[in-house]
């Protein structure tokens, strides 16, 4: 008798509130996913039919052909130079902008708001779009790449710097202010010492990111290895393609190791801890890199001076934006968003097993978890546009190639994030469930997932945001979405169309960014 009372109680409680809401949420998700699948033309049949073609493509890649090794070496150096210069110039602009857009160091509200919004705007535009703009305005070559990366870096570092400055300890600042010092000297003596290690950490991160990004910039003609990859791909020289891919891989692995080593130095406090000898050594290395970079990209003042009016001309040609095709562009934008959603979906599907294998507390086998980690690093290291270019050759032009590219590239991120989230869970409840005699998967699903799920969701939203932004430029290599329209409008100098497209892209990216930030706050 008691049990029936309990059961009705159970049903009553579970029948209301949470269960219904959860059901509706899933229903909504599935509908969005189904629509996105349709819009990205995902079709298992095409995929299976394409398999033999993809396999023969891989076969054609072997053996790699390094005949143009001299050019590859030059372009490798150019790639690094573009990344380096973009980062350096970005840092120079970001320092004042970061300080101006931090609440506690900004001179006044007007400067605070203007610089903050400027940083936000700069961050919203994908680096490839900057590259496209500057290639069109000042011509093909590494200088366009440097400017593109510089602007993208300011968007990134400006925000990081401001956040770092806003979290400093106010006491030393007050002490020096109380001594009647000038604002600049307060910043120099009270703010800089506190944020220096953090800034340096972010700078390294930006350098790491920019060298990777520089590999893809060449796909639109903005210098570096990407140009060669694009050319060889278009002329079906797959053996030369594989040679370039191998070089890219080596660079990625090298960057990964070096930045991991340096990050460790920062965390352990052996680097940038104070004005020590080691830091001067590092500065010397940076100076040497700068010198090499000047050698490979002679920063031609003339070129930049001549370029400026052309950039102005380009910008003024954009107005007024063309309005006739807006409905079609909005549909294209929806297709683009669909690519981002599908890419994220498949990234999640890949990352759940990948992340579990990489989590040391799940596999208990260093061999398996290290192997999974290496796979994740590899996927993360290859820019999505490079993946996209390869997939376009394998499965044909269209959104499907873009979906695959986003899925693989971001599975690298998610796999790593998931593994870290799983490694940080509380092991005690897991043992308790294991002690009931539960099997491995039961244990994972009932004790591990409930703990890691909020973090998983937060990462998923972050990746979704990132993928929708990235999907706007996939069209540049023919992998679907609005990017194709963008690059075509630039090729045929329809600048007013270009303006409309960029505005639509910016609005979308900003909206998605806001929504994702809001949802992320809700899930954790």
């Amino acid at each position: 008798m008691r049990s029936s009372v309990s059961l009705s109680h159970y049903k009553r409680v579970m029948g209301q509130g949470t269960k219904v809401r959860r059901f509706l949420l899933w229903f909504l998700l599935i509908i969005i996913l189904a629509l996105s699948f349709k819009a990205s033309q995902i079709d298992i049949r095409t995929f299976i039919d394409g398999m033999p073609h993809a396999l023969s493509l891989i076969k054609e890649m072997f053996p790699p052909d390094f005949a143009r090794w001299k050019r590859i070496i030059t372009l490798t150096a150019e790639t690094i130079s573009v990344g380096f210069w973009g980062t350096l110039l970005g840092i120079l602009v970001s320092v004042p902008l970061g300080i101006f857009s931090a609440k506690n160091t900004s001179p006044n509200a007007v400067i605070y708001n203007t610089s903050k919004e400027l940083v936000n705007l700069l961050r919203a535009v994908p680096d490839i779009i900057y590259a496209l703009i500057f290639v069109t305005a000042i011509g093909i070559g590494p200088v366009a790449g440097v400017i593109a990366l510089m602007l993208a870096t300011v968007g990134l570092l400006g925000k990081f710097y401001a956040e770092a400055v806003e979290t400093i300890d106010p006491k030393p600042v007050e002490a020096i202010e109380a001594a009647g010092s000038h604002k600049l000297s307060v910043i120099r003596h009270a703010v800089v010492p506190q944020v220096f290690p953090l800034f340096m950490g972010y700078n390294l991160y930006a350098l790491d990111h920019n060298i990777r990004a520089a590999m893809a910039l060449g796909l639109v003609g903005a210098g570096g290895l990407g140009i060669e990859l694009f050319t060889q791909m278009r002329s079906f020289n797959y053996q030369k393609v594989s040679a370039i891919l191998i070089v890219m891989l080596i660079i990625i692995i090298a960057i990964d190791r070096v930045s991991a080593y340096l990050r460790k130095g920062i965390i352990e406090g052996t680097l940038f801890s104070a004005n020590k000898f080691r830091d001067y050594v590092l500065m010397a290395i940076v100076a040497a890199m700068a010198f090499i970079s000047i050698y490979f990209i002679p920063v031609d003042l003339k070129e930049i001076v001549y370029g400026l009016p052309r950039i102005w001309e380009f910008l003024s040609n954009m107005f007024p934006p063309e309005r006739s095709d807006i409905p079609r562009y909005i549909w294209l934008m929806l297709e683009t968003i669909a690519i981002g959603i599908c890419g994220t979906f498949f990234a999640i599907v890949i990352s759940i097993p990948l992340g579990m294998l990489a989590a040391r507390n799940v596999t208990h086998s260093p061999v398996i978890s290290n192997a999974a980690r290496e796979i994740a690093n590899f996927l993360r290291g290859i820019p999505d546009l490079v993946f996209a270019l390869v997939f376009v050759a394998a499965v044909g032009l269209g959104p499907f190639a873009g979906v695959l590219a986003l899925a693989l590239h971001t599975a690298g991120f998610l796999g790593k994030f998931y593994a870290e989230a799983i490694e940080n869970i509380d092991p005690k409840p897991v043992e308790a469930v294991e002690a009931t005699g539960a099997r491995f998967l039961q244990k994972i699903i009932h004790a591990v997932f409930p703990q890691a799920l909020p973090l998983f969701n937060s990462y998923n939203l972050y990746i979704l945001d990132r993928n929708i932004r990235a999907s706007t430029v996939l069209g540049v290599v023919g992998a679907g979405g609005i990017g194709f329209e963008l690059i075509m409008s630039m090729r045929i100098f329809e600048h007013q169309r270009t303006a409309t497209l960029i505005i639509i892209i910016l609005i979308t990216i900003t909206a998605v960014d806001r929504i994702s930030a809001y949802l992320r706050k809700k899930v954790v």
């Binding site: 309990s6 159970y10 308790a432 002690a435 009931t436 039961q442 009932h446």
Partner: protein
Amino acid sequence: MLKMESIHKRFNGAEVLKNVDLKVKKGEAVALIGPSGSGKTTLIRVINGFVLPDNGRVVVRGKEIDYRKKDELRQMRKRIGMIYQLFNLVDRTSAIDNVVSGALGRMDRGFELISSTIGLFSTEVRERAMELLNFVGIEDKAFERVDRLSGGQKQRVAIARALMQEPEILLADEPIANLDPRTSQKIMELLTKINRERGITIITVLHHLESVRDHFHRVVALKDGEICFDGRTDCLTREHISSIYEFAGEYECAAA
């Protein structure tokens, strides 16, 4: 029911368990006491296979456990419930979800395995979980997230989860160490009730000697990895306690 013979365990060279022999009959309630670091937790964890002994045999229900055979270990764990000092519930899920997870071990074949793995439990299982929550006295909190419950309520959920296994042995490692005296008393009463009414064998690590006297007829004391007392609670004298916890030595030091 449970027989441990000459159990040895070393951690990084240090002998934590030395030649431990222990026999527990069906339906007994045993309190395990001893100073910190004496190896109580280790001993408990040997019983359900989370610590592998270096030497010795563990026999449960007449069957020697082969720790290398995963499935045998799992079958044994199904019969042994465990409750912990820090409750070890899965936060962010409801009390009833936690209780139901106690049935996972039993649902390890065929369709039941698949459905339980993905979180679908039959009406019987859910009803049973509700009954157990009722038995431990917190039916009204069934759908509350466990991280919003008080310590005593959490321990009740954990006990219900262990009972969900339909265990023959219930192990507890300092189940009341994080609870206030009144709540502790209630949890101990609950454990005693489980032992008396359901005939479940109970082995509990306890630091609270009053609780030991009130609720257990048998006491086993560990000291430096050896059993130094094993007998009826009313035979446990002050002298025994002093020597187990080395009060005498401390008094001497204080006097000197």
